[in-house]
Symmetry: C3
Subunit: 205 residues, 3 copies
Amino acid sequence: MFLIEAFVYIGTIAFAISGSLLAIKKDLDMFGVLLLGLTTALAGGVIRDLMIGNIPPTNLVDPQYFLVSLLASLATILFHEKFDRFEHGIAFFDAIGLGVFTAVGANAALSLDYSQPFLIVAMGLVTGIGGGVLRDVFVREIPLVFRKEIYGLASIAGSVALIVTYSLLSPVISLYICLVVTLTIRILALKWKWNVPIVHKKPNV
Amino acid sequence: MFLIEAFVYIGTIAFAISGSLLAIKKDLDMFGVLLLGLTTALAGGVIRDLMIGNIPPTNLVDPQYFLVSLLASLATILFHEKFDRFEHGIAFFDAIGLGVFTAVGANAALSLDYSQPFLIVAMGLVTGIGGGVLRDVFVREIPLVFRKEIYGLASIAGSVALIVTYSLLSPVISLYICLVVTLTIRILALKWKWNVPIVHKKPNV
Amino acid sequence: MFLIEAFVYIGTIAFAISGSLLAIKKDLDMFGVLLLGLTTALAGGVIRDLMIGNIPPTNLVDPQYFLVSLLASLATILFHEKFDRFEHGIAFFDAIGLGVFTAVGANAALSLDYSQPFLIVAMGLVTGIGGGVLRDVFVREIPLVFRKEIYGLASIAGSVALIVTYSLLSPVISLYICLVVTLTIRILALKWKWNVPIVHKKPNV
Protein backbone atom coordinates (compact mmCIF):
# COMPACT_ATOMS: atom_id res chain seq x y z
CA MET A 1 0.00 0.00 0.00
CA PHE A 2 3.02 2.30 0.22
CA LEU A 3 2.78 3.30 -3.42
CA ILE A 4 -0.93 4.13 -3.12
CA GLU A 5 -0.15 6.30 -0.07
CA ALA A 6 2.44 8.20 -2.13
CA PHE A 7 -0.14 8.71 -4.88
CA VAL A 8 -2.64 10.02 -2.30
CA TYR A 9 -0.16 12.74 -1.35
CA ILE A 10 0.40 13.64 -5.01
CA GLY A 11 -3.38 13.88 -5.53
CA THR A 12 -3.85 15.94 -2.37
CA ILE A 13 -1.12 18.35 -3.46
CA ALA A 14 -2.56 18.65 -6.97
CA PHE A 15 -6.07 19.33 -5.67
CA ALA A 16 -4.80 21.92 -3.15
CA ILE A 17 -2.89 23.68 -5.95
CA SER A 18 -5.94 23.68 -8.25
CA GLY A 19 -8.11 25.25 -5.52
CA SER A 20 -5.49 27.84 -4.60
CA LEU A 21 -4.84 28.81 -8.23
CA LEU A 22 -8.56 29.33 -8.85
CA ALA A 23 -8.83 31.37 -5.65
CA ILE A 24 -5.95 33.63 -6.76
CA LYS A 25 -7.59 34.06 -10.18
CA LYS A 26 -10.79 35.13 -8.41
CA ASP A 27 -8.92 37.72 -6.26
CA LEU A 28 -9.69 36.02 -2.96
CA ASP A 29 -7.54 37.10 -0.03
CA MET A 30 -4.70 34.92 1.29
CA PHE A 31 -6.89 33.25 3.87
CA GLY A 32 -9.43 32.50 1.13
CA VAL A 33 -6.66 31.02 -1.05
CA LEU A 34 -5.55 28.68 1.75
CA LEU A 35 -9.15 27.76 2.68
CA LEU A 36 -10.14 27.01 -0.91
CA GLY A 37 -6.98 24.91 -1.38
CA LEU A 38 -7.77 22.93 1.77
CA THR A 39 -11.44 22.54 0.80
CA THR A 40 -10.55 21.22 -2.66
CA ALA A 41 -8.02 18.75 -1.27
CA LEU A 42 -9.98 17.47 1.73
CA ALA A 43 -13.73 17.82 1.03
CA GLY A 44 -14.17 14.82 -1.28
CA GLY A 45 -12.92 12.44 1.39
CA VAL A 46 -14.97 14.17 4.09
CA ILE A 47 -18.24 13.84 2.13
CA ARG A 48 -17.49 10.18 1.38
CA ASP A 49 -16.77 9.47 5.05
CA LEU A 50 -20.08 11.09 6.06
CA MET A 51 -21.89 8.83 3.58
CA ILE A 52 -20.28 5.57 4.72
CA GLY A 53 -20.35 6.43 8.43
CA ASN A 54 -16.61 6.84 8.97
CA ILE A 55 -17.00 9.44 11.75
CA PRO A 56 -15.20 11.75 12.34
CA PRO A 57 -13.85 11.91 8.77
CA THR A 58 -10.24 10.73 8.36
CA ASN A 59 -9.22 13.95 6.57
CA LEU A 60 -10.19 15.96 9.65
CA VAL A 61 -8.47 13.61 12.13
CA ASP A 62 -5.15 12.66 10.53
CA PRO A 63 -3.23 15.95 10.33
CA GLN A 64 -0.84 14.89 7.55
CA TYR A 65 -3.34 15.55 4.73
CA PHE A 66 -4.15 18.95 6.20
CA LEU A 67 -0.45 19.80 6.54
CA VAL A 68 0.40 18.69 3.00
CA SER A 69 -2.54 20.71 1.62
CA LEU A 70 -1.54 23.77 3.61
CA LEU A 71 2.06 23.58 2.36
CA ALA A 72 0.89 23.13 -1.23
CA SER A 73 -1.44 26.14 -0.92
CA LEU A 74 1.31 28.28 0.63
CA ALA A 75 3.66 27.27 -2.20
CA THR A 76 0.95 28.27 -4.67
CA ILE A 77 0.74 31.74 -3.13
CA LEU A 78 4.51 32.13 -3.43
CA PHE A 79 5.02 30.62 -6.88
CA HIS A 80 1.66 30.94 -8.65
CA GLU A 81 3.11 32.79 -11.60
CA LYS A 82 5.48 29.92 -12.24
CA PHE A 83 2.70 27.37 -11.68
CA ASP A 84 0.71 29.04 -14.48
CA ARG A 85 3.42 28.06 -16.92
CA PHE A 86 3.08 24.46 -15.79
CA GLU A 87 -0.66 24.31 -16.47
CA HIS A 88 -0.27 20.98 -18.26
CA GLY A 89 1.77 19.59 -15.41
CA ILE A 90 -0.92 20.52 -12.92
CA ALA A 91 -3.63 18.96 -15.10
CA PHE A 92 -1.51 15.79 -15.06
CA PHE A 93 -1.20 15.81 -11.25
CA ASP A 94 -4.93 16.55 -11.03
CA ALA A 95 -5.55 13.42 -13.13
CA ILE A 96 -3.45 11.43 -10.65
CA GLY A 97 -5.58 12.93 -7.89
CA LEU A 98 -8.80 11.94 -9.64
CA GLY A 99 -7.50 8.42 -10.15
CA VAL A 100 -6.18 7.81 -6.68
CA PHE A 101 -9.12 9.47 -4.89
CA THR A 102 -11.52 7.37 -6.97
CA ALA A 103 -9.58 4.21 -6.09
CA VAL A 104 -9.40 5.07 -2.38
CA GLY A 105 -13.09 6.08 -2.26
CA ALA A 106 -14.41 3.02 -4.08
CA ASN A 107 -12.14 0.83 -1.95
CA ALA A 108 -13.41 2.45 1.28
CA ALA A 109 -16.98 1.47 0.36
CA LEU A 110 -15.88 -2.06 -0.57
CA SER A 111 -13.76 -2.65 2.51
CA LEU A 112 -16.60 -1.56 4.83
CA ASP A 113 -18.49 -4.53 3.46
CA TYR A 114 -20.78 -2.45 1.31
CA SER A 115 -20.87 -4.61 -1.76
CA GLN A 116 -23.53 -2.67 -3.69
CA PRO A 117 -21.97 -1.75 -7.05
CA PHE A 118 -23.82 1.58 -7.37
CA LEU A 119 -22.65 2.67 -3.91
CA ILE A 120 -19.05 1.76 -4.73
CA VAL A 121 -19.10 3.75 -7.98
CA ALA A 122 -20.85 6.66 -6.23
CA MET A 123 -18.25 6.72 -3.43
CA GLY A 124 -15.42 6.66 -5.98
CA LEU A 125 -17.05 9.55 -7.83
CA VAL A 126 -17.85 11.58 -4.70
CA THR A 127 -14.30 11.19 -3.37
CA GLY A 128 -12.79 12.01 -6.76
CA ILE A 129 -14.91 15.05 -7.68
CA GLY A 130 -16.40 16.27 -4.34
CA GLY A 131 -13.58 18.68 -3.51
CA GLY A 132 -13.60 20.16 -7.02
CA VAL A 133 -17.38 20.60 -6.96
CA LEU A 134 -17.24 22.57 -3.69
CA ARG A 135 -14.25 24.57 -5.01
CA ASP A 136 -16.24 25.65 -8.06
CA VAL A 137 -19.49 26.33 -6.15
CA PHE A 138 -17.66 28.56 -3.64
CA VAL A 139 -16.33 30.82 -6.42
CA ARG A 140 -19.62 30.77 -8.36
CA GLU A 141 -18.56 28.54 -11.24
CA ILE A 142 -20.69 25.71 -12.59
CA PRO A 143 -18.64 22.68 -11.38
CA LEU A 144 -16.19 21.47 -14.04
CA VAL A 145 -17.51 17.91 -13.85
CA PHE A 146 -20.87 19.10 -15.24
CA ARG A 147 -19.35 21.14 -18.01
CA LYS A 148 -16.65 19.60 -20.07
CA GLU A 149 -14.09 16.96 -20.72
CA ILE A 150 -14.14 13.33 -19.72
CA TYR A 151 -13.78 13.76 -15.95
CA GLY A 152 -16.59 12.05 -14.08
CA LEU A 153 -16.73 9.34 -16.74
CA ALA A 154 -13.05 8.48 -16.13
CA SER A 155 -13.80 8.02 -12.43
CA ILE A 156 -16.82 5.81 -13.13
CA ALA A 157 -14.83 3.65 -15.56
CA GLY A 158 -12.10 3.25 -12.93
CA SER A 159 -14.56 2.14 -10.24
CA VAL A 160 -16.20 -0.35 -12.61
CA ALA A 161 -12.74 -1.77 -13.34
CA LEU A 162 -12.11 -2.05 -9.59
CA ILE A 163 -15.40 -3.91 -9.01
CA VAL A 164 -14.74 -6.33 -11.88
CA THR A 165 -11.19 -7.16 -10.82
CA TYR A 166 -11.67 -7.08 -7.02
CA SER A 167 -12.71 -10.70 -6.61
CA LEU A 168 -10.80 -12.00 -9.62
CA LEU A 169 -7.44 -10.57 -8.60
CA SER A 170 -6.18 -9.27 -5.27
CA PRO A 171 -7.76 -6.14 -3.70
CA VAL A 172 -4.46 -4.25 -3.91
CA ILE A 173 -4.04 -5.01 -7.60
CA SER A 174 -7.61 -3.88 -8.30
CA LEU A 175 -6.81 -0.56 -6.58
CA TYR A 176 -3.97 0.01 -9.02
CA ILE A 177 -6.14 -1.05 -11.95
CA CYS A 178 -8.76 1.54 -10.90
CA LEU A 179 -6.08 4.22 -10.67
CA VAL A 180 -4.55 3.32 -14.03
CA VAL A 181 -7.90 3.13 -15.86
CA THR A 182 -9.10 6.49 -14.47
CA LEU A 183 -5.75 8.17 -15.07
CA THR A 184 -5.36 6.82 -18.61
CA ILE A 185 -8.86 7.87 -19.73
CA ARG A 186 -8.44 11.30 -18.16
CA ILE A 187 -5.00 11.89 -19.72
CA LEU A 188 -6.13 10.72 -23.16
CA ALA A 189 -9.21 12.98 -22.90
CA LEU A 190 -6.96 15.94 -22.08
CA LYS A 191 -4.46 15.13 -24.81
CA TRP A 192 -6.97 14.61 -27.60
CA LYS A 193 -9.50 17.08 -26.21
CA TRP A 194 -12.23 14.46 -25.90
CA ASN A 195 -15.47 15.96 -24.75
CA VAL A 196 -18.90 14.63 -24.02
CA PRO A 197 -21.30 16.14 -26.58
CA ILE A 198 -23.57 18.97 -25.48
CA VAL A 199 -27.32 18.51 -25.86
CA HIS A 200 -28.07 21.77 -27.62
CA LYS A 201 -31.45 23.16 -26.86
CA LYS A 202 -33.19 23.78 -30.15
CA PRO A 203 -35.72 26.59 -30.29
CA ASN A 204 -39.33 25.46 -30.25
CA VAL A 205 -40.91 25.79 -33.68
CA MET B 1 -47.53 0.82 0.92
CA PHE B 2 -47.59 -0.28 -2.73
CA LEU B 3 -49.30 2.91 -3.86
CA ILE B 4 -46.74 5.09 -2.01
CA GLU B 5 -43.91 3.16 -3.69
CA ALA B 6 -45.48 3.88 -7.08
CA PHE B 7 -45.70 7.58 -6.18
CA VAL B 8 -42.02 7.55 -5.15
CA TYR B 9 -41.10 6.41 -8.64
CA ILE B 10 -43.27 9.12 -10.20
CA GLY B 11 -41.58 11.74 -8.00
CA THR B 12 -38.10 10.39 -8.76
CA ILE B 13 -38.81 10.51 -12.50
CA ALA B 14 -40.22 14.05 -12.28
CA PHE B 15 -37.23 15.32 -10.31
CA ALA B 16 -34.74 13.63 -12.69
CA ILE B 17 -36.52 15.24 -15.65
CA SER B 18 -36.49 18.67 -14.00
CA GLY B 19 -32.74 18.43 -13.34
CA SER B 20 -31.96 17.20 -16.83
CA LEU B 21 -34.11 19.87 -18.52
CA LEU B 22 -32.36 22.62 -16.56
CA ALA B 23 -28.96 21.12 -17.44
CA ILE B 24 -29.84 21.11 -21.15
CA LYS B 25 -31.02 24.73 -20.91
CA LYS B 26 -27.64 25.62 -19.36
CA ASP B 27 -25.71 23.88 -22.18
CA LEU B 28 -24.15 21.26 -19.93
CA ASP B 29 -22.69 18.24 -21.70
CA MET B 30 -24.50 14.88 -21.76
CA PHE B 31 -22.67 13.61 -18.68
CA GLY B 32 -23.61 16.82 -16.88
CA VAL B 33 -27.26 16.34 -17.90
CA LEU B 34 -27.31 12.81 -16.48
CA LEU B 35 -25.44 13.83 -13.33
CA LEU B 36 -27.72 16.80 -12.64
CA GLY B 37 -30.79 14.61 -13.22
CA LEU B 38 -29.45 12.01 -10.76
CA THR B 39 -28.49 14.68 -8.23
CA THR B 40 -31.94 16.29 -8.33
CA ALA B 41 -33.70 12.94 -7.94
CA LEU B 42 -31.48 11.36 -5.28
CA ALA B 43 -29.87 14.13 -3.19
CA GLY B 44 -32.86 15.06 -1.02
CA GLY B 45 -33.10 11.51 0.32
CA VAL B 46 -29.33 11.28 0.77
CA ILE B 47 -29.15 14.48 2.86
CA ARG B 48 -32.12 13.32 4.98
CA ASP B 49 -30.46 9.92 5.57
CA LEU B 50 -27.23 11.64 6.68
CA MET B 51 -29.23 13.70 9.18
CA ILE B 52 -31.14 10.80 10.71
CA GLY B 53 -28.20 8.38 10.68
CA ASN B 54 -29.47 6.00 7.99
CA ILE B 55 -25.99 5.09 6.72
CA PRO B 56 -25.19 4.42 3.92
CA PRO B 57 -28.11 6.36 2.39
CA THR B 58 -30.86 4.21 0.85
CA ASN B 59 -30.71 6.10 -2.47
CA LEU B 60 -27.06 5.07 -2.87
CA VAL B 61 -27.63 1.43 -1.90
CA ASP B 62 -30.88 0.39 -3.59
CA PRO B 63 -30.10 0.60 -7.30
CA GLN B 64 -33.72 0.96 -8.49
CA TYR B 65 -33.93 4.70 -7.78
CA PHE B 66 -30.63 5.26 -9.55
CA LEU B 67 -31.78 3.21 -12.55
CA VAL B 68 -35.15 4.96 -12.79
CA SER B 69 -33.44 8.38 -12.56
CA LEU B 70 -30.90 7.40 -15.21
CA LEU B 71 -33.62 6.22 -17.62
CA ALA B 72 -35.65 9.40 -17.02
CA SER B 73 -32.56 11.55 -17.69
CA LEU B 74 -31.70 9.60 -20.85
CA ALA B 75 -35.28 10.01 -22.05
CA THR B 76 -35.00 13.75 -21.37
CA ILE B 77 -31.90 13.95 -23.58
CA LEU B 78 -33.76 12.18 -26.40
CA PHE B 79 -37.11 13.91 -26.11
CA HIS B 80 -36.42 17.24 -24.38
CA GLU B 81 -38.03 19.27 -27.14
CA LYS B 82 -41.26 17.40 -26.64
CA PHE B 83 -40.95 17.64 -22.85
CA ASP B 84 -40.84 21.41 -23.19
CA ARG B 85 -44.36 21.37 -24.60
CA PHE B 86 -45.52 19.47 -21.53
CA GLU B 87 -44.19 22.02 -19.08
CA HIS B 88 -47.43 21.97 -17.11
CA GLY B 89 -47.38 18.17 -17.04
CA ILE B 90 -43.87 18.19 -15.60
CA ALA B 91 -44.83 20.80 -12.99
CA PHE B 92 -47.66 18.45 -12.02
CA PHE B 93 -45.31 15.44 -11.69
CA ASP B 94 -42.88 17.65 -9.75
CA ALA B 95 -45.72 18.46 -7.34
CA ILE B 96 -46.29 14.72 -6.87
CA GLY B 97 -42.57 14.41 -6.20
CA LEU B 98 -42.65 17.19 -3.61
CA GLY B 99 -45.65 15.59 -1.93
CA VAL B 100 -44.37 12.03 -1.83
CA PHE B 101 -40.79 12.98 -0.87
CA THR B 102 -42.16 15.14 1.94
CA ALA B 103 -44.33 12.25 3.16
CA VAL B 104 -41.50 9.71 2.95
CA GLY B 105 -39.01 12.06 4.62
CA ALA B 106 -41.28 13.07 7.49
CA ASN B 107 -42.27 9.44 7.95
CA ALA B 108 -38.61 8.33 8.04
CA ALA B 109 -37.97 10.71 10.96
CA LEU B 110 -41.14 9.51 12.73
CA SER B 111 -40.51 5.80 12.22
CA LEU B 112 -36.95 6.09 13.62
CA ASP B 113 -38.60 7.14 16.87
CA TYR B 114 -37.66 10.76 16.51
CA SER B 115 -40.86 12.33 17.72
CA GLN B 116 -39.69 15.95 17.73
CA PRO B 117 -42.14 17.91 15.54
CA PHE B 118 -39.54 20.36 14.21
CA LEU B 119 -37.23 17.51 13.15
CA ILE B 120 -40.11 15.77 11.35
CA VAL B 121 -41.07 18.91 9.43
CA ALA B 122 -37.41 19.63 8.67
CA MET B 123 -36.83 16.10 7.34
CA GLY B 124 -39.95 16.36 5.15
CA LEU B 125 -38.71 19.69 3.81
CA VAL B 126 -35.10 18.54 3.30
CA THR B 127 -36.23 15.40 1.46
CA GLY B 128 -38.73 17.35 -0.64
CA ILE B 129 -36.54 20.30 -1.64
CA GLY B 130 -32.93 19.10 -1.09
CA GLY B 131 -32.43 17.73 -4.59
CA GLY B 132 -33.86 20.88 -6.18
CA VAL B 133 -31.69 23.13 -4.04
CA LEU B 134 -28.49 21.33 -5.12
CA ARG B 135 -29.72 21.30 -8.75
CA ASP B 136 -30.10 25.09 -8.70
CA VAL B 137 -26.84 25.75 -6.80
CA PHE B 138 -24.84 23.66 -9.29
CA VAL B 139 -26.04 25.76 -12.23
CA ARG B 140 -25.70 29.03 -10.34
CA GLU B 141 -29.39 29.80 -9.80
CA ILE B 142 -30.81 31.00 -6.49
CA PRO B 143 -32.75 27.87 -5.41
CA LEU B 144 -36.41 28.02 -6.50
CA VAL B 145 -37.65 27.36 -2.98
CA PHE B 146 -36.19 30.71 -1.87
CA ARG B 147 -37.59 32.64 -4.76
CA LYS B 148 -41.17 32.12 -5.69
CA GLU B 149 -44.37 30.21 -5.48
CA ILE B 150 -45.78 28.20 -2.63
CA TYR B 151 -43.26 25.36 -2.63
CA GLY B 152 -41.62 24.94 0.75
CA LEU B 153 -44.82 26.04 2.47
CA ALA B 154 -46.75 23.20 0.80
CA SER B 155 -44.19 20.71 2.15
CA ILE B 156 -44.41 22.15 5.67
CA ALA B 157 -48.23 22.06 5.62
CA GLY B 158 -48.09 18.42 4.52
CA SER B 159 -45.72 17.43 7.34
CA VAL B 160 -47.88 19.23 9.91
CA ALA B 161 -50.90 17.30 8.61
CA LEU B 162 -48.91 14.07 8.95
CA ILE B 163 -47.94 14.83 12.56
CA VAL B 164 -51.52 15.73 13.51
CA THR B 165 -53.08 12.62 11.96
CA TYR B 166 -50.30 10.11 12.76
CA SER B 167 -51.55 9.09 16.19
CA LEU B 168 -55.22 9.78 15.47
CA LEU B 169 -55.42 7.62 12.36
CA SER B 170 -53.12 4.89 11.07
CA PRO B 171 -49.56 5.76 10.00
CA VAL B 172 -50.26 4.70 6.41
CA ILE B 173 -53.33 6.93 6.15
CA SER B 174 -51.35 9.88 7.55
CA LEU B 175 -48.74 9.33 4.81
CA TYR B 176 -51.44 9.72 2.18
CA ILE B 177 -52.87 12.77 3.95
CA CYS B 178 -49.40 14.38 3.90
CA LEU B 179 -49.09 13.64 0.18
CA VAL B 180 -52.55 14.96 -0.64
CA VAL B 181 -52.18 18.15 1.44
CA THR B 182 -48.76 19.00 -0.07
CA LEU B 183 -49.87 18.14 -3.61
CA THR B 184 -53.15 20.07 -3.37
CA ILE B 185 -51.55 23.25 -2.02
CA ARG B 186 -48.77 23.08 -4.60
CA ILE B 187 -51.17 22.48 -7.52
CA LEU B 188 -53.53 25.27 -6.42
CA ALA B 189 -50.54 27.63 -6.05
CA LEU B 190 -49.44 26.78 -9.59
CA LYS B 191 -52.95 27.10 -11.02
CA TRP B 192 -53.80 30.42 -9.42
CA LYS B 193 -50.24 31.71 -9.39
CA TRP B 194 -50.16 32.09 -5.62
CA ASN B 195 -46.93 33.61 -4.45
CA VAL B 196 -45.49 34.54 -1.12
CA PRO B 197 -45.11 38.33 -1.06
CA ILE B 198 -41.65 39.81 -1.51
CA VAL B 199 -40.29 42.08 1.22
CA HIS B 200 -39.23 44.96 -0.98
CA LYS B 201 -36.26 46.82 0.30
CA LYS B 202 -37.22 50.45 0.49
CA PRO B 203 -34.48 53.04 0.03
CA ASN B 204 -33.30 54.65 3.22
CA VAL B 205 -34.58 58.19 3.52
CA MET C 1 -22.68 27.49 31.53
CA PHE C 2 -25.68 29.83 31.79
CA LEU C 3 -23.76 32.76 30.35
CA ILE C 4 -22.57 30.70 27.37
CA GLU C 5 -26.18 29.65 26.71
CA ALA C 6 -27.21 33.32 26.68
CA PHE C 7 -24.42 34.07 24.21
CA VAL C 8 -25.58 31.19 21.99
CA TYR C 9 -29.00 32.86 21.72
CA ILE C 10 -27.39 36.22 20.89
CA GLY C 11 -25.32 34.54 18.17
CA THR C 12 -28.31 32.65 16.79
CA ILE C 13 -30.34 35.86 16.61
CA ALA C 14 -27.49 37.76 14.93
CA PHE C 15 -26.97 35.03 12.33
CA ALA C 16 -30.72 34.80 11.61
CA ILE C 17 -30.86 38.58 11.14
CA SER C 18 -27.83 38.56 8.81
CA GLY C 19 -29.42 35.83 6.64
CA SER C 20 -32.80 37.56 6.54
CA LEU C 21 -31.31 40.97 5.71
CA LEU C 22 -29.33 39.50 2.81
CA ALA C 23 -32.46 37.69 1.58
CA ILE C 24 -34.46 40.93 1.62
CA LYS C 25 -31.66 42.70 -0.27
CA LYS C 26 -31.81 39.95 -2.91
CA ASP C 27 -35.61 40.32 -3.29
CA LEU C 28 -36.42 36.84 -2.03
CA ASP C 29 -40.02 36.27 -1.01
CA MET C 30 -41.06 36.16 2.67
CA PHE C 31 -40.70 32.39 2.87
CA GLY C 32 -37.23 32.71 1.37
CA VAL C 33 -36.33 35.37 3.94
CA LEU C 34 -37.40 33.11 6.81
CA LEU C 35 -35.69 30.05 5.30
CA LEU C 36 -32.41 31.89 4.69
CA GLY C 37 -32.49 33.29 8.22
CA LEU C 38 -33.03 29.81 9.66
CA THR C 39 -30.33 28.31 7.40
CA THR C 40 -27.77 30.91 8.45
CA ALA C 41 -28.53 30.45 12.14
CA LEU C 42 -28.79 26.65 12.26
CA ALA C 43 -26.66 25.16 9.45
CA GLY C 44 -23.21 25.57 11.04
CA GLY C 45 -24.23 23.46 14.02
CA VAL C 46 -25.97 20.90 11.80
CA ILE C 47 -22.87 20.38 9.62
CA ARG C 48 -20.66 20.07 12.73
CA ASP C 49 -23.02 17.49 14.26
CA LEU C 50 -22.95 15.45 11.03
CA MET C 51 -19.14 15.45 11.18
CA ILE C 52 -18.82 14.37 14.80
CA GLY C 53 -21.70 11.88 14.67
CA ASN C 54 -24.16 13.75 16.89
CA ILE C 55 -27.25 12.38 15.10
CA PRO C 56 -29.85 13.78 14.65
CA PRO C 57 -28.30 17.25 14.90
CA THR C 58 -29.16 19.20 18.06
CA ASN C 59 -30.32 22.24 16.08
CA LEU C 60 -33.01 20.11 14.40
CA VAL C 61 -34.14 18.42 17.62
CA ASP C 62 -34.20 21.15 20.27
CA PRO C 63 -36.91 23.55 19.05
CA GLN C 64 -35.68 26.60 20.98
CA TYR C 65 -32.98 27.52 18.46
CA PHE C 66 -35.47 27.16 15.61
CA LEU C 67 -38.03 29.32 17.44
CA VAL C 68 -35.50 32.04 18.31
CA SER C 69 -34.27 32.11 14.69
CA LEU C 70 -37.84 32.28 13.37
CA LEU C 71 -38.71 35.19 15.66
CA ALA C 72 -35.51 37.03 14.71
CA SER C 73 -36.27 36.54 10.99
CA LEU C 74 -39.87 37.70 11.43
CA ALA C 75 -38.62 40.78 13.29
CA THR C 76 -36.21 41.42 10.41
CA ILE C 77 -39.10 41.39 7.92
CA LEU C 78 -41.01 43.90 10.04
CA PHE C 79 -38.16 46.21 10.98
CA HIS C 80 -35.49 45.70 8.30
CA GLU C 81 -35.33 49.38 7.43
CA LYS C 82 -34.46 50.22 10.99
CA PHE C 83 -31.98 47.32 11.17
CA ASP C 84 -30.11 48.84 8.23
CA ARG C 85 -29.31 51.86 10.34
CA PHE C 86 -27.81 49.57 12.97
CA GLU C 87 -25.41 47.89 10.57
CA HIS C 88 -22.55 48.27 13.03
CA GLY C 89 -24.67 46.84 15.83
CA ILE C 90 -25.47 43.78 13.75
CA ALA C 91 -21.80 43.32 12.83
CA PHE C 92 -21.08 43.36 16.56
CA PHE C 93 -23.74 40.72 17.31
CA ASP C 94 -22.43 38.68 14.38
CA ALA C 95 -18.97 38.80 15.97
CA ILE C 96 -20.51 37.45 19.20
CA GLY C 97 -22.13 34.71 17.09
CA LEU C 98 -18.80 33.84 15.46
CA GLY C 99 -17.10 33.70 18.86
CA VAL C 100 -19.70 31.66 20.69
CA PHE C 101 -20.33 29.25 17.80
CA THR C 102 -16.58 28.69 17.48
CA ALA C 103 -16.34 28.01 21.22
CA VAL C 104 -19.33 25.66 21.25
CA GLY C 105 -18.14 23.83 18.12
CA ALA C 106 -14.55 23.35 19.26
CA ASN C 107 -15.82 22.30 22.68
CA ALA C 108 -18.23 19.74 21.13
CA ALA C 109 -15.29 18.06 19.38
CA LEU C 110 -13.22 18.12 22.59
CA SER C 111 -15.97 16.82 24.87
CA LEU C 112 -16.66 13.87 22.53
CA ASP C 113 -13.12 12.78 23.29
CA TYR C 114 -11.76 13.78 19.92
CA SER C 115 -8.48 15.26 21.02
CA GLN C 116 -7.02 15.86 17.56
CA PRO C 117 -6.12 19.57 17.39
CA PHE C 118 -6.89 19.93 13.68
CA LEU C 119 -10.37 18.41 14.14
CA ILE C 120 -11.09 20.76 17.05
CA VAL C 121 -10.08 23.84 15.07
CA ALA C 122 -12.00 22.58 12.02
CA MET C 123 -15.17 21.98 14.08
CA GLY C 124 -14.89 25.47 15.60
CA LEU C 125 -14.51 26.95 12.13
CA VAL C 126 -17.30 24.87 10.55
CA THR C 127 -19.72 25.77 13.35
CA GLY C 128 -18.74 29.44 13.24
CA ILE C 129 -18.81 29.98 9.46
CA GLY C 130 -20.94 27.09 8.08
CA GLY C 131 -24.24 28.94 8.25
CA GLY C 132 -22.80 32.05 6.61
CA VAL C 133 -21.19 30.00 3.83
CA LEU C 134 -24.52 28.35 2.94
CA ARG C 135 -26.29 31.74 3.22
CA ASP C 136 -23.92 33.25 0.65
CA VAL C 137 -23.92 30.22 -1.68
CA PHE C 138 -27.74 30.19 -1.79
CA VAL C 139 -27.87 33.80 -3.01
CA ARG C 140 -24.93 33.36 -5.39
CA GLU C 141 -22.30 35.31 -3.48
CA ILE C 142 -18.75 34.10 -2.94
CA PRO C 143 -18.85 33.30 0.81
CA LEU C 144 -17.66 36.24 2.91
CA VAL C 145 -15.08 34.10 4.73
CA PHE C 146 -13.19 33.61 1.44
CA ARG C 147 -13.29 37.26 0.51
CA LYS C 148 -12.38 39.78 3.10
CA GLU C 149 -11.74 40.79 6.64
CA ILE C 150 -10.32 38.77 9.47
CA TYR C 151 -13.21 36.34 9.93
CA GLY C 152 -12.07 32.74 9.66
CA LEU C 153 -8.71 33.66 11.20
CA ALA C 154 -10.46 35.01 14.32
CA SER C 155 -12.26 31.68 14.71
CA ILE C 156 -9.03 29.69 14.28
CA ALA C 157 -7.20 31.88 16.83
CA GLY C 158 -10.05 31.32 19.29
CA SER C 159 -9.95 27.52 18.90
CA VAL C 160 -6.18 27.48 19.34
CA ALA C 161 -6.61 29.50 22.55
CA LEU C 162 -9.22 26.96 23.71
CA ILE C 163 -6.90 24.00 23.04
CA VAL C 164 -3.97 25.65 24.84
CA THR C 165 -5.97 26.59 27.93
CA TYR C 166 -8.25 23.53 28.12
CA SER C 167 -5.95 21.35 30.17
CA LEU C 168 -4.20 24.22 31.96
CA LEU C 169 -7.36 25.88 33.25
CA SER C 170 -10.91 24.58 33.59
CA PRO C 171 -12.92 23.62 30.45
CA VAL C 172 -15.50 26.33 31.18
CA ILE C 173 -12.88 29.05 31.48
CA SER C 174 -11.27 27.93 28.21
CA LEU C 175 -14.68 28.27 26.53
CA TYR C 176 -14.84 31.91 27.58
CA ILE C 177 -11.24 32.48 26.52
CA CYS C 178 -12.09 31.11 23.05
CA LEU C 179 -15.11 33.41 22.85
CA VAL C 180 -13.17 36.47 24.02
CA VAL C 181 -10.19 35.85 21.69
CA THR C 182 -12.40 35.32 18.62
CA LEU C 183 -14.64 38.27 19.46
CA THR C 184 -11.75 40.64 20.20
CA ILE C 185 -9.86 39.86 16.99
CA ARG C 186 -13.04 40.13 14.93
CA ILE C 187 -14.09 43.45 16.50
CA LEU C 188 -10.59 44.96 16.13
CA ALA C 189 -10.52 43.81 12.49
CA LEU C 190 -13.85 45.54 11.88
CA LYS C 191 -12.85 48.69 13.72
CA TRP C 192 -9.49 49.17 12.04
CA LYS C 193 -10.54 47.56 8.77
CA TRP C 194 -7.89 44.85 9.00
CA ASN C 195 -7.86 42.67 5.94
CA VAL C 196 -5.85 39.70 4.80
CA PRO C 197 -3.84 40.78 1.74
CA ILE C 198 -5.04 39.68 -1.69
CA VAL C 199 -2.65 37.66 -3.85
CA HIS C 200 -2.96 39.70 -7.02
CA LYS C 201 -2.53 37.69 -10.15
CA LYS C 202 0.14 39.38 -12.20
CA PRO C 203 -0.07 39.06 -15.96
CA ASN C 204 2.37 36.58 -17.47
CA VAL C 205 5.21 38.35 -19.21
